[in-house]
């Protein structure tokens, strides 16, 4: 088919106008695609028109070719524009589609470490920073390890402080984690810095604040040159880390046969910041540990030279601390395994 450049250029112009209006009037992606195929496709109107180019006289070719390319470019630009308009409109209207994203998503089971374990882990982590490692000992002890080695005579009122579960004449459920002190010293030479978390047993009937078994965490540091000042400073370090930087400590005289001097450690009440509340019975202070310098009698019992070595020891109740920290009103909740309780610590 012979044609001249002019009429081909006119046809291209006509294609341009129709194409633009077709693209502009498209309302969705499918209609845009239809227009693309019709005008810009491999066998679309522009391709058809351009295929006639080869039949034109040589002098007509450049101008007509340029016209074709211009029309094609213009339609392509229009098409892209229209497509992005349609996509933007679709995005804007997305919530009106059938998906309700307020529906709950698919979850896995909740889980959790026991609050007492959390407290134990945290205490261990803090003391690790000042050189402590973790030790354990048996829960069934000999009376020697539980009492005698710790300077507690068996037939003495001091042993009354521990209402003991006996299993045999000389075997008992440990009343504190302190026998781990003796075991560690029997097995190792200083320097010693250990923590011993574990279960202890006392003949206390169940009530809101007593359980016949409960966790304790023992600490022991023995080396040359440890003095009361170091002891105070180490406990202060722990307290500031565990209870917060503003927390103050107060050391009071107390009595533990295995420490001398002995001290009870109070911290400013973290519930009322020391202003007095029901938890601290209005005193502003909460008792958190028993402690003291290791009694030389204990060193003698385990064969340490009490002239060469000094040390400090302390004991805390992670269960009690967990109860204070999380405001758990009843110790029995710690041991019931109630899912509604445990999930609060997940």
């Amino acid at each position: 088919m012979a044609t001249d450049g002019r009429s081909l250029r006119e046809r291209l112009e006509e294609i341009r106008q129709r194409g633009i209006s077709a693209i502009r009037s498209a309302t969705d992606r499918d209609e845009v695609e239809q227009a693309r195929v019709e005008y810009l496709g491999r066998s679309g109107l522009i391709s058809q028109a351009m295929s006639e180019l080869r039949d034109l006289p040589v002098e007509e070719k450049p101008e007509t070719g340029q016209t074709g390319n211009r029309v094609k470019g213009e339609l392509e630009t229009t098409l892209e524009l229209r497509l992005s308009e349609i996509e933007a409109a679709a995005a804007a209207s997305a919530p009106t589609t059938s998906v309700d994203l307020t529906l709950p998503g698919r979850r896995s089971w909740r889980d959790g470490i026991h609050p007492v374990t959390r407290v134990i882990d945290e205490i261990c982590e803090i003391f690790r920073e000042i050189g402590f490692t973790v030790a354990t000992g048996p829960e069934i002890e000999s009376d020697w390890h539980n009492f005698t080695a710790l300077n507690i005579p068996l037939d003495h009122p001091a042993a009354d402080m521990h209402d003991t579960f006996y299993l045999a004449d000389d075997r008992l459920l440990r009343t504190h984690t302190s026998p781990v002190q003796a075991r560690v010293m029997l097995a190792h030479e200083p320097p010693i810095r250990v923590l011993a978390p574990g279960l202890c047993f006392r003949r206390d009937p169940w009530d809101a604040s007593h359980a016949p078994a409960f966790e304790q965490i023992e600490g022991l540091a023995v080396d040359e040159g440890i003095d009361f000042i170091e002891f105070r400073s180490a406990i202060d370090f722990f307290v500031q880390r565990f209870f917060g930087a503003g927390t103050r400590t107060r050391f009071r005289p107390s009595y533990f046969p295995f420490t001398e001097p002995s001290a009870e450690v109070d911290v400013t009440c973290f519930l009322c910041d020391g202003s007095g509340c029901s938890t601290c019975k209005g005193t502003g202070w909460i008792e958190i540990m028993g402690s003291g310098m290791v009694n030389p009698a204990v060193f003698d019992a385990v064969g340490y030279d009490s002239e060469k070595y000094t040390g400090y020891a302390f004991g805390m109740g992670p269960g009690r601390i967990a109860m204070l920290r999380y405001r758990i009103p009843d110790i029995r909740l710690l041991y019931e395994g109630d899912v509604s309780f445990l999930e609060q610590f997940g």
Binding site: R106, P157, V194, W206, D236, P253, G337
Partner: protein, 827 residues
């Protein structure tokens, strides 16, 4: 122990500070004070009044119409509801317009038609005690119209001390006053009484003495170091004067009569337990300290009858036991209103024997508490003199000039050496001899240097500080008097611990993090269980708190099942819990008798019990939390097996052996015979059985109808590998080729056997074998099932060719056909 602040002030004049400040000082320097209680605040308007007439209210049986003399011109009409109002007696009276403590204002008003102007009050209404059973009757010398607070030596404050076993010296007012007395004053000194003195000449004896017609015998010197006696004749028993009653009330003791009150007063002031016998009721006018005879009977003051054994120590007269030594007097020799002559006892009973006497009779008294902890044996003479002088002052009579003193002489005061250098080493304080002396001398410690410029300070310990026996004890005295809070805070450099972390702790951590990552909660429990099924290895507590907690657990699972039941009772159906804990058992074989001086190692070797660290879990309910978009079937056996496989792999503690028949020893070890169904998974390792898991037998648990099957597992902790044994494997360079293999075989052949056979038959090129389909049913012959496997081959150094892989698969198929009689369905 309750102490009265008024009493403390009387003992240590010049003592500064409010009751709260005194309590703080005690807490920070000596002993915890649990509570400070103000006594008798707000009593300003209340006066002492006498009920002159008491008549029944015409319209109400329980009401009394009283004419009250409150020291005014006219008698006052008061209607009283108390059952104990008595004509002629004295009571506290609140006139109209005045108020009770707490601010309640009393007004004149009509009660059942009769006018009542004011009110007679009970102890409780006055805030002085708990007794609300009647109005407070005032026995003693009072003036009508006198201010009640003044008459009762009020207001006062009560300090409730939390005594530690070492500081028995603080169980009396003088001891507490010593801690609080000004350092620069005379210290704490009991003020003299308004009456005759008593300077005894002593009739001494080692085991017996006689004076004033009374004989004292110590038959068993082990049981009593010393027995002092004083005789007072011609006394009049009656109520104590108000000042004495006020003292006793202030310390929480109830006044009884002047003689008993005098002994109680000395106990609460000086810490010396004393006892007064009615001399007329002592058979043979003698007392003997001896062991009780077997079957000997005694009724104590509290009206309880005891049948004694020789463990108990008694005071006896010539015929029979009349008191439990150091614990409680007997009813038959008790002082009564008719008593005129007294024998006053001030003895030093042995702590251990007193403890045994108290335990044998189930008694714990103020006296036994002190004797068990050791009294001040150097203070007995002053205590008995104080008691005699008090009785002479308030009950009249004449004291025999001879006192009796039997036993060994009082021990000399202990001298303990204190090195100044040791203060530096243990406390970190650089104190001089003078500074140390200034700290501890005010509380009774005398100091003198051993020699000029000596490092050693010789410290004489006062008799009331039996707890101070070593240099360490003196260091505590120095430290607490210095003030624990006055120590500088100086963090010191430290050497890290030579003790390695214990492995169990790391193992427990691994278990916790793994099980938590699988959506389980950690539980903790008390390891006590009821008798339940009999297990010979189970250890009973000798004195359990209850039958439900009478034994130590031998397994964790039953305790966790208890937790499951608890959760069911709260309506939870989906329960996923684990616990890391200890189980207990008995060691095989007989243990040797231990010598008294056994080494710690021998003691451990002789332990008849064993314990083991374990972990356990329970799973029941939906596999996944309920979701609207998907089904959530219940946890089943394959969830359990999968979890066990993951545990075994990730904790490196062995291989899973499904369907293994439990043997005798594993049943005993894990006790699962009773709680697991036949579907059991064993985990074995190098050291034998490491754990079991399975479905919990329905009969083991009290399951509600809506509950799901329960799955559980229990494992030893010690086979867990905490070392990181991972090693990098180079990444594959050449493509893998996979082939699927489906065949039928007898259902009796286990999947584990098939996998083993495949692995054995294939060349090392086989990198993985995975079962992806199991079918049993119509399309397969009866007694057979179809298994489909995907085998993946890969060579580390080249691309595998099809013929190579085909050959490998053919080898596998042959072996399966030969060994397991499989029939190939497709490949």
């Amino acid at each position: 122990m309750d102490v009265s602040v008024n009493w403390l002030r009387a003992l240590a004049p010049g003592m500064q500070g409010s009751a709260t400040e005194l309590a703080d000082r005690l807490s920070l320097q000596a002993i915890p004070v649990d509570r400070v209680v103000s006594v008798g605040d707000g009593l300003e308007g209340i006066v002492v009044a006498r009920v002159v007439e008491a008549a029944r209210h015409p319209d109400a049986d329980r009401l009394t119409l009283c004419k009250v003399d409150a020291g005014r011109d006219e008698l006052i009409d008061v209607v009283c509801g108390a059952p104990n109002v008595e004509q002629g007696a004295l009571y506290p009276y609140v006139p109209p317009g005045e108020s009770l403590p707490g601010g309640f204002v009393i007004e004149s008003r009509k009660i059942r038609g009769e006018m009542s102007h004011g009110m007679l009050c009970s102890e409780k209404e006055l805030g002085l005690g708990r007794d609300s059973g009647g109005i407070l009757r005032l026995d003693g010398e009072f003036t009508v119209g006198q201010g009640f607070a003044e008459a009762m030596a009020l207001p006062d404050a009560r300090l409730e001390l939390d005594l530690t076993p070492n500081r028995i010296d603080l169980a009396c007012h003088l001891g507490v006053a010593r801690e609080l007395a000004p350092d620069d004053g005379p210290g704490a000194v009991p003020p003299p009484f308004d009456g005759p003195g008593w300077d005894a000449s002593w009739a001494d004896g080692v085991s017996e003495a006689e004076a004033g017609g009374v004989r004292i015998v110590i038959e068993d010197a082990d049981r009593c170091n010393r027995y002092l006696g004083a005789i007072v004749r011609g006394i009049t028993v009656g109520p104590s004067p108000e000042w004495l009653q006020a003292r006793l009330r202030g310390a929480g003791a109830r006044p009884i009569n002047n003689v008993v009150d005098a002994t109680n007063y000395v106990l609460l002031e000086l810490n010396q337990p004393l006892h007064a016998f009615d001399l007329a009721r002592l058979g043979g006018s003698e007392v003997r300290v001896r062991a009780a005879e077997a079957g000997e009977k005694l009724r104590t003051l509290d009206g309880v009858d005891h049948e004694l054994t020789p463990v108990a120590t008694v005071i006896a007269d010539a015929e029979t036991a009349i008191a439990l030594a150091g614990v409680m007097g007997g009813e038959d020799s008790e002082v009564t209103l008719d008593t005129t002559d007294l024998l006053i006892e001030c003895a030093a009973f042995d702590p251990r024997h007193t403890r045994h006497t108290a335990r044998a009779t189930g008694l714990a008294t103020d006296a036994s508490y002190r004797f068990e902890r050791g009294i001040d044996e150097t203070g007995q003479e002053s205590a008995i003199r104080r008691c005699v002088e008090l009785i002479l002052a308030i009950a009249g009579g004449v004291a025999d000039s001879n006192g009796l003193r039997v036993g060994s002489p009082p021990p000399a005061n202990r001298v303990v050496a204190l090195r100044i250098s040791r203060i530096g080493r243990v406390l970190g304080l650089d104190l001089s001899v003078e500074e140390v002396t200034r700290l501890i001398a005010p509380i009774g410690f005398d100091t003198r240097p051993k020699a000029v410029d000596s490092d050693v300070l010789l410290v004489t310990v006062p008799g009331w500080r039996g707890d101070v026996t070593t240099e360490a004890d003196l260091l505590e005295e120095v430290a607490r008097r210095f003030g624990y809070d006055a120590f500088p805070r100086q963090p010191r450099s430290f050497r890290p611990s030579a003790v390695p972390d214990c492995a169990d702790r790391g193992r427990a951590d691994e278990v916790r993090s793994l099980l938590v990552s699988r959506g389980l909660y950690e539980a903790r429990s008390v390891p006590f269980v009821p008798a339940g099924r009999s297990a010979e290895s189970r250890i009973p507590l000798l004195k359990p708190l209850s039958a439900a907690e009478g034994f130590l657990r031998t397994d964790l699972i039953p305790v966790l099942l208890g937790r499951v039941e608890h959760n069911w009772s709260r309506g939870h159906r989906d329960i996923r819990l684990f616990e890391v804990g200890t189980v207990f058992g008995r060691r095989a074989g007989d243990q040797a008798e231990l010598p008294a001086d056994a080494t710690p190692e021998q003691r451990d070797a002789a332990n008849p019990f064993s314990e083991e660290r374990r972990f356990a879990f329970v799973l029941t309910g939906a596999r996944l939390p309920v979701h609207w978009g998907s089904e959530s079937p219940d946890t089943d056996m394959w969830d359990l097996v999968g979890l066990v496989e993951e545990l075994a792999e990730e904790l490196g503690f062995g291989t899973v052996e499904p369907g293994l028949e439990p043997d005798e020893s594993s049943e005993r070890t894990f006790g699962f015979d009773s709680w697991l169904d036949e579907a059991v998974v064993h985990v074995g390792g190098n050291g034998g059985l490491t754990g079991v898991a399975g479905r919990v037998r329905a009969t083991m648990i009290d399951a509600p109808r809506w509950s799901a099957p329960v799955f559980a597992g229990e494992f030893r902790l010690d086979p867990i590998q905490t070392e990181d044994q991972r090693e990098y494997q180079s990444l594959p360079q050449y493509p893998a080729v996979s082939r699927d293999l489906a065949f039928t075989l007898a259902t009796s052949v286990s999947v584990a056997d098939v996998e083993r056979t495949i692995r054995a038959a294939a060349p090392p090129l086989l990198t993985s074998v995975r079962l992806f389909d199991v079918y049993e049913g119509d399309k397969v012959e009866e007694g057979r099932r179809s298994l489909a496997w995907r085998l993946v081959f890969r060579a580390p150094d080249r691309t595998l060719t099809d013929p190579e892989v085909d050959g490998a698969v053919a080898g596998v198929v042959h072996r399966l056909e030969d060994d397991l009689d499989v029939r190939i369905r497709a490949s």
